[in-house]
C-alpha cells in the first residue's frame, strides 16, 4: 500500500488513538517500518514501543537528504552586511555624503545620518577569493566552504517580528519555528536528548524569547528545548535537592512497579505504556544530557581551538563545542544565539556599530571556525548544515550625523551557509551599489527556509500541518523557492 508520507492533515489534535496519532505526525506505515529498523539497529533511546507512540519518532525525509543535522548560528540583533560579507567600495567613495536613493532608511523614526564606509578591510580569501572583512580572520580560513547570500531580504524593520520571521517564517507570533518543523518532519535520532536544542547568550535571550523556538500550534513536543552550557543543562533535569541518586532510582522503580500493576487492569492502553516509558527516558536523559555538557574531558588542544581559555570566546566557544557533541549524539537542530538582551549587548549596533561588531564578531569568530574544523575532523561536516546570520542587516548610512551607529536594514543583508549540500566558495546575489537593497537574485527569508528544508530532505510545499482549516507550512502561502545556487 502506498501511504503518502506526511500528508495527512492534522485535523484533530493528537492523543486519541495511537494509530491515529502516528497518522497525524505523518509516520504512516513507512514510519513504522523505519521505527522497527531503528529499534533493532540501536538508535539511542528508541525502542519499538516508545517509537510507536512518540511524536518524535524518526521519520524518513521526502527525498534523500544532503544534511541530517542543522546548526543555526543566530547573530541576534542584525549584523551589518557592509561590514561583514558585502564589500561596498562605493561607500568609501561617497563616505559622509547624504543618501539619495529610494530605499526606506532606518526604523522607528531614528535619526538618519550620511553614508558611512566600513572601517573593516575586506580581503579575498581561499582559492575562491571570497571577500570577507577583517572581523572574521578565523572564519575566513573556511572561505572556500562558505556560500554567502548577499541578497537576503525580510519584511520588517523590528527585532521582534524580524526574529519571528527568521525563525518561524511569519512576522506574527504563534507559528511553529524552523526547528519545530524539522522535528515534526524528521523526528529525532536520539530519544535520550531533545531533537531541537537552543542555547542563548548569557546576556539574555532574543526579543520575543520562546516565541522564537515555539512549536506554535503543533504539540509542545516539537518546540525547541533550552539547553544550558553548564551544570544541569535541561530544565528539571537534576534530581531534586535532598534526594540522593539512589533514592531517585528507587522512587522511579516504585513508580514503575505501581504503574505496571495499574497497567494490568488496562492491558491495551498504549498511552499508559508510553507514559511509563517516558519516565525511563527522562532518567536516561539525565545521564545523556549531563555528559554532553561535560567538556572537561576534551583534550587541551580542542579547548584551545574553541577559545575556551580566553575570556572573550569562552562562552560561545563552550556552546560551539557542546554543539559538536550534540551533533555526535544525533541532535537534529541546534540554534546558538550570539547576543542577547538589548541594543549593544546584541549585534544591534545603533550607537557604535564598529565597536559592537568587533565585540560580537570577536566572541564568535574563533569558536565558529573551530566548530567547522572539528566537524571536518570528525566527518560530521558531510551531514551537517551550518547557517549564519541575524534577523536583518544594517544601514550603509550612520544613525545620526557623525555617529558610528547603524540602523536596521531589512531590504538587503547577508547570511552564509556551509556544510552538507552547500556549494562553498561563492557569494550569490547582490545588493545595490551602496548595499541598501537586494537587487540581484533577491532571496526572501522564506526562500532561505525552503532551501534549508530542501537540504534536510524536505519539500517545503509538502511539509504541511493542518491547522485552522488550512494546510499550514513554514514558508507560508506566497511563492517561495529553493535557492538553487546554494546547492552543491
Amino acid at each position: 500500500m502506498n501511504f503518502p508520507n506526511r500528508c495527512i492533515p492534522n485535523r484533530t489534535p493528537c492523543g486519541q488513538t495511537r494509530r491515529e496519532f502516528l497518522w497525524q505526525v505523518g509516520g504512516g506505515f513507512a514510519g513504522l517500518a523505519l521505527i522497527d529498523l531503528l529499534s533493532r539497529s540501536g538508535f539511542p533511546g528508541w525502542n519499538t514501543r516508545a517509537a510507536a507512540t512518540s511524536p518524535l519518532a524518526p521519520r524518513s525525509p521526502h527525498f534523500a537528504a544532503k544534511a541530517n543535522h542543522c546548526v543555526f548560528l543566530f547573530m541576534n540583533g542584525g549584523p551589518s552586511q557592509v561590514d561583514t560579507f558585502d564589500p561596498k567600495p562605493a561607500l568609501t567613495r561617497f563616505n559622509g555624503s547624504p543618501y539619495k536613493g529610494d530605499a526606506k532608511v532606518g526604523s522607528n523614526g531614528r535619526p538618519i545620518g550620511h553614508l558611512m564606509q566600513s572601517p573593516f578591510e575586506f580581503k579575498n580569501h581561499g582559492r575562491s577569493g571570497l571577500e570577507i572583512s577583517s572581523l572574521f580572520p578565523h572564519t575566513a580560513k573556511f572561505a572556500d566552504d562558505l556560500c554567502v547570500v548577499r541578497s537576503m531580504f525580510s519584511d520588517t524593520a523590528a527585532h521582534a517580528s524580524g526574529c519571528l520571521q527568521m525563525n518561524t517564517g511569519s512576522i506574527f507570533i504563534g507559528k511553529p519555528s524552523l526547528g519545530a518543523w524539522l522535528s515534526y518532519g524528521l523526528g529525532t535520532e536520539n530519544a535520550n536528548l531533545p531533537s531541537y536544542v537552543v542555547m542563548t547568550d548569557p546576556r539574555g535571550g532574543p526579543i520575543g524569547s520562546a516565541s522564537n523556538w515555539t512549536g506554535g500550534y503543533m504539540p509542545a513536543a516539537y518546540q525547541g528545548t533550552l539547553f544550558r552550557s553548564g551544570g544541569s543543562p535541561l530544565l528539571d533535569l537534576a534530581t531534586p535537592e535532598g534526594t540522593s541518586d539512589r533514592t531517585q532510582r528507587h522512587s522511579l522503580d516504585l513508580l514503575k512497579q505501581l504503574n505496571e500493576e495499574h497497567l494490568k487492569q488496562h492491558p491495551d492502553e498504549s498511552e499508559l505504556v508510553a507514559r511509563i516509558e517516558s519516565y525511563e527516558l527522562a532518567y536516561r536523559m539525565q545521564t545523556a544530557a549531563a555528559s554532553v555538557v561535560d567538556v572537561e574531558r576534551e583534550d587541551s588542544a580542542t579547548k584551545e581551538m574553541y577559545g575556551l581559555n580566553e575570556k572573550r570566546t569562552a562562552d560561545f566557544g563552550r556552546k560551539c563545542l557542546i554543539t559538536r557533541r550534540l551533533l555526535e549524539k544525533g541532535v537534529r537542530f541546534i540554534q546558538l544565539y550570539s547576543g542577547g538582551g538589548h541594543i549593544e549587548d546584541t549585534w544591534d549596533g545603533h550607537n557604535d556599530c564598529i565597536e559592537n561588531h568587533k565585540l560580537h564578531a570577536g566572541e564568535t569568530d574563533k569558536p565558529i571556525a573551530a566548530l567547522m574544523a572539528d566537524l571536518k575532523r570528525t566527518g560530521l561536516w558531510d551531514e551537517t548544515l551550518i547557517v549564519w546570520g541575524g534577523e536583518f542587516g544594517r544601514t550603509p548610512t550612520s544613525e545620526g550625523l557623525g555617529k558610528p551607529g547603524r540602523d536596521h536594514d531589512w531590504h538587503g543583508f547577508s547570511m552564509w551557509l556551509a556544510g552538507a549540500g552547500v556549494k562553498g566558495g561563492q557569494a550569490i546575489g547582490a545588493t545595490d551599489e551602496l548595499g541598501f537593497k537586494a537587487v540581484e537574485n533577491p532571496c526572501h527569508v522564506g526562500d532561505l527556509h525552503a532551501t534549508i528544508l530542501h537540504l534536510m530532505g524536505l519539500d517545503h510545499t509538502k511539509l504541511t500541518y493542518f491547522h485552522q482549516g488550512l494546510n499550514q507550512r513554514l514558508t507560508g502561502v506566497l511563492d517561495r523557492r529553493v535557492i538553487a545556487q546554494v546547492l552543491a
Binding site: G15, I207, P219, D236, L252, L255, Q468, V477
Partner: protein, 832 residues
C-alpha cells in the same frame, strides 16, 4: 470564455481527496498569496472580467498572472508538454481500458474540481460525477461516448490557444493523463451506475436549520437512562455490540468531580456518597457540584481556550493586557450563574450595545480584544486588518465553527464562503478601535451608560478646572477636583474595544487581502450560505453603529444553524474527550462529519428549546446518560474494528489537562487556595527558565506560595513565557482559538513532574498533611494517601510495594518520596 481565464487556480474540493492528496500540489494552490507577489493582476484585465462575469465571480480576485503577459512561461509549458508526449506512457494504462475510479477521477480531482464541481460550476459544468460529465455544461456534453476526438473535454484539454486550453492554470495535462482520458471516452466513458453525486456545499448538513429527530428504537432498554442513550445504543446494536458496563461507583465519583469542578472528592465527600452509591445519589452529587463556584472555574477555562485568552499581547514588549482578568472573571461568573448561552454570545459580541448594557455586559466584549497585538507593527495599514482578522476569524470559529479566515484573500477554496462574506463580517467589527496611547494600551471605565457618560463629564470638568490656574488658587482647584471625585467616583476599568462614533466608515473587499487594493463596497451581513434571508441589522444607535448587535442577535437566534450545534458539541467533547464532531472549530464541508448526527441535532434542538440554552441542564442530561457512566473497559474486537472509538462503546480513556493535574495536586496536598477572581497570580518559574529572555531579571515576578496555590485558571498566561510545567503538559496554543488540547507523552513531562519544584513541594506538603491527619502508622498513612489522591484504598500488592520501598529508604523522606510517586502515577492523571 473569459470567465475560464479568470478562474482561480486550485485543484481540490472534496474533503476525501484533500485528506489524501493535497500535498501533491503546492499549497499556493490551496491558498493564494496574502499579499501581491510579482505576478500582479493587470488592472485593465480586471475591468474586462468584471464586465463579463457574474457578481459572485467578481468577488473572487484572480489569483494568477495573465498568460498573455507571460508568454515565455506558456512556451515553456508547451515545451514540457512536448517532452512529456515523447516520454514513456504512465504505467498500467496502455493496454487496458482506463478505470473511472482509479484512473479518471483523480485527474479531475487534481486539475478540474476547483472550478467544475460542487463548490463552483464555471460554465455550469461539473466533473465530479460521471452522469454530470455526460450531461455537460452550457457548451454541451463534455464527452461524446466512443468519440474522443470530437469530445469537448479532449478538445479543450489539448487546445494550444491559451484562452481555450483547460485547465487554464499551471501545466497542461500530461500525455499520460490525456491518453487515459482518450481511452476512457473511446470506451464509452463508463462510470458506476450507483455513483452518488456529491452534494453542493449549500446542502451541507451543518448549514441546515436544526430539526429534532425522533429517538431511535433499541432492543436493550436496560442500558437507557435518558434520551441520549438510544442514539448511542442504536449504532452499537447495528453491529450487535454492547456498551461497556457502568463504571464502579468510586470511579464515577472521581470522574464526576474531575469533570465538573476539576478537583478530586475529599475523604468526607467520598464517604458520604459511598454510603449509598446509587445512580440517583450520583445525580444529586452532580446537582451539588454544579452549584459550586469551582464549576465555573473549571468550565470557564474551556471557553477561555476557544477565545484565545491570554494576559499579555506577545511580541517585543509582550505587555500585560490591563484588567483583562475581568473578562476571565466574567466568564467564570457566567458559567456559575448559568447565564443562558445565547445571552452569553450576545454579551461578548455586543454587550455595550444592549439596551440593558452595564459594566458586566461591557466587560464581556473583552472577547474582541484578547488577541495578540504588536505595538510596533511592521506595516500599520496591514496591521489594522490583521487585528480585525483576529476578531473575525475567532468569532467565526468560536461561535459558528467556521474557518471564515481563509476567505480573507480569496474565496474559500473548500467552503461556500466568499471574500464578500468575510469583508461583510469585517465591516461589522471595523468601527471598533483599540484604546491606546502610543504603545501603551488603555483600559475603559465601564458601568451603566448614564454612569459612563457622567464620568466622562466629570473628567471633562476636572480638565477644565486644571486650566483655571489664573483665576483659582492651586489649593482651591485641588479641593474642587477632590469634591468631584467624591461625588462621582471612578468606575471599574475593563479591557475592551470601543466604537468612537456611531457612524461607521465604509468597508471594501480587499483584493488579495491587500489594504491598498480596494474592491467592492460591502455592508454588514452574515455568511450567505447560512441565511436564506439576511438578518436585519439595526440602524446606528446613540453611541455606536449597532452592527455587532445585529450580528449577535442573529447568532443567538434559531435562524442560525450553527451556534447551538457548535456549543453542544464543545460540551460533549469536554465530557467524552472527543466531540460528536471531531473538528470542533470546523463544522464546514472540510470538517469531520458527526459520529452521531441525529444525536447532535437532537441535543442542539433540545438545548435551544427545552433547556433554554442552559449549560447546566445540558451537563445534567449528559452526565445522567448511561453513555457517560460507562467504564473504560476495552473490548479488543471493537477496538480493532473501531480504533478511533467513534461509536462510543466505552468511556474513552484520557489524561487530565494541565490545569486539572496541577489543581488536583494542590487539593491533595491541602494547599489549594480557594480565593476567586481578581488579578492573575504568577506561579514560580525557576531562574533557569528565565535566562533566555531579554529582560531576564524583570520579566517574571513570581507570586508567594499562598497566592500561587490558587487554581490554575488564575495563572498569568504570558504569551512570550508560558509557565514551563503547564506548557509541557500541553497547555496549548495561546495565540489562536484552541478548540481542543493536545495530549502528548514526552520525557520533559516526566522531568517536570518528577524533578520539578512544584510537584516536590506538593509532595512535601502532602506528606506533612498525612502525618497530621492519619497518624504515624505507615500502613495507615499509605491508605490515607491513596484514598485522598485516587479515591480508593490501595490493593495489597500496592501496599506491599510501598512498604518495601520504605524499608530501603532513610527515615525522614520516605513518605515524601511515596507522595511524589503517587502524584506521578498514571492513575492520578488518567482517572477511571
Amino acid at each position: 470564455m473569459i470567465s475560464s481565464r479568470w478562474d482561480d487556480s486550485g485543484f481540490a474540493t472534496s474533503p476525501e481527496f484533500i485528506r489524501i492528496s493535497n500535498v501533491q500540489g503546492p499549497l499556493r494552490e490551496l491558498c493564494p498569496p496574502l499579499k501581491e507577489n510579482e505576478a500582479v493582476l493587470d488592472r485593465s484585465k480586471t475591468a474586462a472580467f468584471t464586465s463579463n462575469v457574474s457578481p459572485s465571480e467578481q468577488n473572487s480576485p484572480a489569483t494568477h498572472s495573465d498568460f498573455a503577459s507571460n508568454s515565455h512561461r506558456f512556451s515553456l509549458a508547451i515545451l514540457i508538454f512536448g517532452v512529456a508526449l515523447m516520454a514513456a506512457q504512465e504505467p498500467g494504462n496502455a493496454a487496458n481500458t482506463p478505470d473511472y475510479d482509479r484512473d479518471i477521477k483523480p485527474i479531475f480531482q487534481q486539475r478540474c474540481y476547483s472550478c467544475h464541481s460542487r463548490l463552483k460550476q464555471k460554465s455550469n459544468l461539473r466533473l465530479d460525477a460521471g452522469s454530470l460529465i455526460h450531461k455537460g455544461g452550457k457548451h454541451g456534453p463534455a464527452v461524446l461516448p466512443g468519440n474522443s476526438a470530437e469530445s469537448l473535454l479532449l478538445k479543450r484539454v489539448l487546445s494550444t490557444d491559451d484562452d481555450e486550453r483547460m485547465p487554464p492554470e499551471e501545466k497542461p495535462l500530461t500525455a499520460g493523463q490525456v491518453t487515459l482520458l482518450r481511452g476512457w471516452i473511446d470506451a464509452g466513458a463508463p462510470y458506476p451506475k450507483d455513483e452518488t453525486i456529491p452534494k453542493t456545499p449549500a446542502e451541507h448538513w451543518a448549514f441546515q436549520l436544526v430539526q429534532r429527530p425522533g429517538l431511535p428504537v433499541v432492543k436493550d432498554r436496560t442500558r437507557i437512562r435518558n434520551q441520549i442513550d438510544p442514539f448511542i445504543l442504536a449504532k452499537l446494536e447495528e453491529r450487535a455490540w454492547k456498551p461497556a458496563a457502568p463504571a464502579q461507583p468510586r470511579a464515577l465519583l472521581r470522574r464526576v468531580y474531575l469533570d465538573l469542578i476539576g478537583l478530586p472528592p475529599t475523604l468526607d465527600e467520598q464517604e458520604r456518597f459511598l454510603a449509598s452509591p446509587t445512580d440517583e445519589a450520583l445525580d444529586r452529587v452532580i446537582d451539588e457540584l454544579l452549584r459550586r463556584p469551582a464549576y465555573g472555574e473549571r468550565w470557564a477555562r474551556h471557553w477561555l481556550d476557544v477565545v484565545r485568552y491570554a494576559d499579555s499581547n506577545g511580541y517585543e514588549r509582550d505587555a500585560e493586557k490591563p484588567f483583562v482578568w475581568r473578562y476571565r472573571d466574567y466568564v467564570i461568573d457566567a458559567f456559575n450563574a448559568d447565564k443562558p448561552f445565547n445571552r452569553f454570545v450576545i454579551e461578548q459580541l455586543a454587550g455595550d450595545e444592549l439596551s440593558d448594557a452595564c459594566a458586566e455586559t461591557m466587560i464581556a466584549t473583552g472577547f474582541q480584544r484578547l488577541g495578540h497585538w504588536d505595538d510596533e507593527p511592521a506595516d500599520p495599514p496591514t496591521d489594522r486588518f490583521d487585528q480585525l482578522d483576529d476578531i473575525v476569524s475567532t468569532t467565526a470559529q468560536a461561535f459558528l465553527g467556521l474557518t471564515l479566515g481563509c476567505a480573507r484573500c480569496h474565496d474559500h477554496k473548500f467552503e461556500p464562503l466568499s471574500t464578500v462574506d468575510y469583508y461583510s463580517m469585517v465591516s461589522i467589527f471595523s468601527p471598533l478601535e483599540r484604546p491606546q496611547k502610543g504603545r501603551t494600551e488603555l483600559a475603559v471605565p465601564v458601568g451603566l451608560p448614564a454612569q459612563v457618560a457622567a464620568l466622562a463629564e466629570r473628567d471633562h470638568q476636572i480638565a477644565r478646572l486644571k486650566q483655571q490656574t489664573n483665576t483659582l488658587a492651586a489649593s482651591e482647584i485641588e479641593r474642587r477636583i477632590q469634591q468631584l471625585r467624591i461625588i462621582r467616583p471612578d468606575l471599574p476599568q475593563a479591557y475592551i474595544m470601543q466604537e468612537p462614533s456611531r457612524a461607521a466608515a465604509v468597508t471594501h473587499v480587499l483584493l488579495r487581502g491587500s489594504p491598498t487594493r480596494s474592491g467592492q463596497i460591502v455592508s454588514p451581513a452574515v455568511p450567505a450560505v447560512l441565511a436564506k434571508q439576511q438578518p436585519v441589522f439595526p440602524p446606528p444607535g446613540k453611541r455606536s453603529s449597532q452592527r455587532r448587535l445585529g450580528l449577535a442577535q442573529w447568532m443567538a437566534s434559531p435562524e442560525n444553524p450553527l451556534t447551538a450545534r457548535v456549543i453542544v458539541n464543545r460540551v460533549w467533547q469536554q465530557h467524552f474527550g472527543q466531540g460528536l464532531v471531531r473538528t470542533p472549530n470546523d463544522f464546514g464541508v472540510m470538517g469531520e462529519p458527526p459520529t452521531h448526527p441525529e444525536l447532535l441535532d437532537w441535543l442542539a434542538h433540545w438545548f435551544a428549546h427545552d433547556a433554554q440554552w442552559s449549560l447546566k441542564r445540558l451537563h445534567r442530561l449528559i452526565l445522567a446518560s448511561n453513555a457517560w457512566r460507562m467504564s473504560h473497559a476495552k473490548n479488543p474486537d471493537y477496538a480493532a474494528s473501531d480504533p478511533d472509538e467513534r461509536l462510543l462503546w466505552r468511556m474513552p480513556y484520557r489524561r487530565l489537562e494541565a490545569e486539572a493535574i496541577r489543581d488536583s495536586m494542590l487539593a491533595v496536598s491541602g494547599q489549594l487556595n480557594l480565593k476567586m477572581s481578581g488579578p492573575a497570580m504568577k506561579p514560580p518559574i525557576q531562574q533557569a527558565a528565565l535566562e533566555a529572555n531579554t529582560d531576564k531579571e524583570s520579566i517574571w515576578k513570581s507570586s508567594s506560595e499562598t497566592e500561587a496555590s490558587r487554581r490554575t485558571v488564575y495563572a498569568f498566561i504570558k504569551r512570550g513565557l508560558v509557565v514551563p510545567m503547564l506548557e509541557v503538559l500541553d497547555l496549548g496554543d495561546t495565540v489562536h482559538s484552541c478548540p481542543q488540547r493536545q495530549v502528548t507523552t514526552v520525557a520533559p513531562q516526566a522531568l517536570s513532574l518528577f524533578n520539578g519544584e512544584f510537584v516536590n513541594q506538593q509532595a512535601r506538603r502532602f506528606a506533612a498533611r498525612i502525618r497530621r491527619e492519619s497518624g504515624s502508622d505507615l500502613r495507615q498513612q499509605i491508605e490515607f494517601a491513596w484514598r485522598v489522591a485516587l479515591c480508593r484504598a490501595p490493593a495489597e500488592v500496592e501496599t506491599t510495594a510501598m512498604l518495601k520501598f520504605r524499608e530501603r529508604e532513610v527515615e525522614q523522606s520516605a513518605l515524601e518520596q511515596i507522595c511524589r510517586v503517587i502524584l506521578n502515577l498514571n492513575e492520578f492523571v488518567y482517572p477511571e
